[in-house]
Symmetry: D2
Subunit: 164 residues, 4 copies
Amino acid sequence: MRKIVIGVMGPGETATNNDLHNAYELGKLIAQQGWILLTGGRNVGVMEAANQGAKSANGLTLGILPGSQPDGISAAVDIAIFTDIGNARNNINVLSSHVVIACGMGAGTASEIALALKAHKPVILLIDDTNSRNFFQKLSGDNVYFADSALDAIATALKVLSAE
Amino acid sequence: MRKIVIGVMGPGETATNNDLHNAYELGKLIAQQGWILLTGGRNVGVMEAANQGAKSANGLTLGILPGSQPDGISAAVDIAIFTDIGNARNNINVLSSHVVIACGMGAGTASEIALALKAHKPVILLIDDTNSRNFFQKLSGDNVYFADSALDAIATALKVLSAE
Amino acid sequence: MRKIVIGVMGPGETATNNDLHNAYELGKLIAQQGWILLTGGRNVGVMEAANQGAKSANGLTLGILPGSQPDGISAAVDIAIFTDIGNARNNINVLSSHVVIACGMGAGTASEIALALKAHKPVILLIDDTNSRNFFQKLSGDNVYFADSALDAIATALKVLSAE
Amino acid sequence: MRKIVIGVMGPGETATNNDLHNAYELGKLIAQQGWILLTGGRNVGVMEAANQGAKSANGLTLGILPGSQPDGISAAVDIAIFTDIGNARNNINVLSSHVVIACGMGAGTASEIALALKAHKPVILLIDDTNSRNFFQKLSGDNVYFADSALDAIATALKVLSAE
């Protein structure tokens, strides 16, 4: 009965236009699958774009916030979890996601990918940088998948979920 | 757009029959208001009863788990947040609730009431023990409300929410 | 080989003169026993007074801070742990203390006593309010001790430690 | 007055012999500088070796444990902080260290480096893998330093500390 939750992780202030485009598509596709979108919940970058995409398809959105107050929260978050544990909430993000999709790269995103691999969670990297791909592939070959588009990432998520 | 989340806190293994009855009613009434029920997510005591009550009225249920794995989770939890921060997750429970309702008493519940008052959250005590009522009343007179039944607690929650 | 850590918990901004006096004495006596003093680390109230007391006797002081930055830290803290998990750090305070001494009362202190009892830690209440004493006594009779002075609290801590 | 804390992060069960050698040397050199050694506190891998090294030079050792109980703790830890927040404690490790030294690589260590960079902490990589070096260099050029030996890492830490 428990609902499927897919986490989309990616940069906030430093997201590229490509990251934002991918994040919006991911959010929309996740909602179209009937899955719940989980993000870090802030109103910037990949978090904001993914939530907007999910709401464009009438999805349900879950934001895991670093602080205790609603300021800085994405208006497209339906359910807000106020952790007040700062970046330590990155571990909650990955533990609460059936599949983690990384969309773009930054220090926070890298910590989430690493924590997901530490917890043996499947991680899909929608990242075209070869060095990043190699780094995480080497870190944990078994749970790392690569995707070249949002659609490709969702297809991989479907495969991973059906194999569990 | 953010949905209203009402937290129901109470004992697990040591809940009384009265606590369980109240928790089921609270869950049902919360769902009937269109609010989301937040609990500690475990399959015992007040948590389990409140979630069952909410599902009996087709509500949406959110479980904030102390661990990282689905064992011990209530089958009536729709969305599970795996915090893996143990009883420190009690602070997340109260920070993420618009109103906290305490249903019964125990060490964990007492910590949640105290953390809620520390965070200036409105807390409704559905507890008939005079000593407990006096203790929390004295701790923070402004944010503490008393209720004698689940229906009474929900009426108080409605007043508190409309005053904000 | 692991050193004995004694936690002193109590109000910050709302501490009474009596709380501050007791906290200073507790810090001094803890240091004289060769124990490490653990507090919430802030430069106010019971935390500040206990740390000053411990340093007056050349003790070692450990501060478990709610934030990530040194502002607001007691100058008498030797070793600072920056948790950045807000009041959830109260659980770390009690889990890391061999014995918890509550010196005064407030919402934060009440949460620490409750979390300590939840974790089956011995708690010594240096609190003269009867209602508070009765509340926690009823919550968990086995691990609660009462003290009327700092010296009395330390004598009780010695007994508790030698019985373990 | 606050003491200098240096964090040594590295693999547990998967540490190489080279990692263990470096960790022991790092612990010893940190103690010889009069600094406090901070590790994840477990009795395996880099954590155990660094703590043993520090104790060989009569240093003071601080262990930030993922759990709530002393089982699995290194016998060379003087002061144990029981966080019970699992791998989220990795963020506490880096926030509480003036300088973070990564000794070897794994998913947990990668998360700590990324969280340290996110928090703008200086990080010294005692890692000879070029791909790992490039990945973190690109992630945050300003705060990343490379070292080829424990001695080299300590020399870099001294420079970083004196520049602050």
